[in-house]
Amino acid sequence: MFAAVVGGAIATALAVQVVLLPRPSRSDLDAVGVERWLVRHHVVDGVWRAPDGRRLTSTCFEGWIGPVRLVRRRVRASLLVFGPPQTALVGVHGRIYAGHARLRRDRSAASRAAFERAGCPSWLGGRLGDVLVQNGKVSVTDVTLGSRRVARVVFGRKAARTELYVVRGAWVPVAIRAGPHPGPLAQLHPGTPAQAKRIQRFFAPITRGRSGQ
């Protein structure tokens, strides 16, 4: 009797959940895979062409900064260097600061787009995660990019629409096309620990938490 009652309880409880609760869509589950990659990786390299034809490169590293002027606590931040000309940006919880030693607030849409185009993992992960939490629309479709079969992850509304191209299964980002005006396709690839160290050294005045700048 014991086995029958306990087995029945387990079977019924499982069956009720399976039958009565909705399941997430395949796109949502794929998007979670992408989100997991973005949460777990800290360095991404990018290459894209500016409208005037210049070749731009970027490296984005997710590290810690502060306490410094304008950022009073030690917080996670996206540290981005791109150029030429060499430009340094810091993203903290959706706020953007320009500079690598003395920060100043930057509210330009171009700087905002730069974080996405550079494939900053936590920046992109934050946006994709917010869309998933709010049950926003995320579509994941298989497409051909160059000669590669990849998955295209589309999320965000018109003005902030992002197309992220990832390797299906491994969910490694390979390219991105980001708003506000979807321009060039940026090629992405995971960065190396050496690049992470280089970026950390570059941002040393703020990553070491010096104050009184």
């Binding site: 309880a9 609760l21 989100e35 992960g125 998933l132 049950n135």
Partner: protein, 366 residues
């Protein structure tokens, strides 16, 4: 006093306390405030304030199912019974918030009547009666009226314990399994059931021993099906614990120490935490009183674990609400209100605090 009168009194009082909470919520809607952190849109809905905080997550699960979102707070932290109920109510045409608040409040009245009956089984009738009255008006109990599973779990839990006391083991196993699908701490009350089975073991016929054991094991087994379900739907058997971690709840033995050492800085960030600390202390004192007036040790231990185990996550956050399931604490409070005047004073104070608690919903989660 006729045999039915105490039941009607308890049911009427429980219904009145729910009316107090709902009228307060309605008043907030009509006054348009205080809107605190929940925003004016929530108060724009008639009883919107009762559907906030975790209620929004339960509604989300009912509408869309579970999704574990790495690096974000996500819904696999919420057990499935209540979303299943919300979905069922929605299927018959009731909006999620209205249906949920309706069922929470109706079931609460049944739960309190059941709690009175449970008290009568274990303690002198007077103590059981007063226990039901103070439980119905308990200040942290405004959460029973919200879009939270608390009242449904309380009802299932009380029923499971009552059935076990009466030796209806299989029915107790079923009710206990339902409670454990609503909130994991419901499974802690297998401790008094196990003590009961142990005490009666030699007198039980052999055929009944298996049934009695099933009443002890089935709730935990039922709770364990939730990670299994998440493993099937999200391909991640750890989805529940990972989601709990994102909510700041990773359970470690040294968490209790951290809950105390981190208290000053946490209170600095969130003054409402004082409320949880005070309630945790009150629960523990009342559990001690309950033990002194003759409530079984197994019951008191289960109640104590309900209060103390959440602290292993390193924080007192929401312990006022978690402690609502420390059932013997209500008997402890009942023991302190033997004099009619004190009972009336406690009930009036409880009602005032119940209103205050409801008014606090926009500012902090229960």
């Amino acid at each position: 006093m006729s045999a039915r009168r105490p039941y009607l009194l308890v049911a009427g009082w429980a219904a009145f306390t729910r009316l107090v909470v709902i009228v307060t919520a309605l008043g907030m809607h009509l006054a348009g405030g205080p809107h605190g952190l929940v925003g004016r849109r929530t108060l724009h809905q008639t009883i919107g304030v009762l559907g906030t905080w975790d209620g929004a997550w339960y509604r989300n699960v009912a509408q869309h199912g579970y999704l574990l979102i790495p690096g974000h707070q996500s819904d696999p932290a919420f057990f499935p019974l209540y979303p299943i109920l919300l979905r069922a109510l929605h299927a018959v045409g009731l909006p999620y918030v209205a249906g949920g608040v309706l069922i929470s409040n109706l079931v609460f009245v049944v739960a309190i009547v059941g709690f009175y009956e449970l008290g009568r089984e274990l303690l002198p009738e007077e103590l059981g009666f007063r226990g039901a009255l103070v439980a119905a008006a308990f200040p942290a109990g405004f959460a029973y009226s919200m879009l939270y599973p608390e009242s449904v779990v309380l009802a299932a839990l009380v029923l499971a314990l009552l059935l076990a006391l009466r030796g209806w083991w299989i029915a107790s196993a079923v009710a206990g399994s339902i409670a454990a699908l609503g909130r994991p701490e419901a499974a802690l009350f297998v401790i008094p059931v196990a003590a009961l089975v142990y005490a009666r073991w030699r007198r039980l016929p052999a055929a009944e021993q298996g049934e009695a054991l099933s009443a002890v094991v089935a709730p935990a087994a039922s709770a364990a099906t939730f990670p299994l379900y998440l493993s099937w739907t999200l391909h991640n058997v750890y989805a529940w614990s990972w989601a709990e971690r994102a909510w700041g709840r990773s359970f470690k033995l040294d968490g209790i120490v951290r809950a105390f050492t981190g208290l000053p800085s946490l209170i600095g960030q969130n003054h409402w935490l004082i409320r949880d600390v005070v309630f945790a202390a009150v629960y523990l004192v009342l559990l001690f009183v309950a033990w002194r007036v003759g409530v079984g040790l197994a019951w008191v231990v289960a109640g104590m674990l309900v209060v103390v185990l959440p602290l292993t996550s390193g924080s007192f956050v929401s312990d006022a609400r978690f402690g609502l399931f420390a059932l013997p604490a209500y008997w402890g409070l009942a023991a302190l209100t033997r004099r009619r005047l004190i009972l009336v004073a406690v009930l009036l104070l409880s009602l005032a605090l119940l209103v205050g608690g409801t008014l606090s919903i926009p500012f902090t989660y229960p």
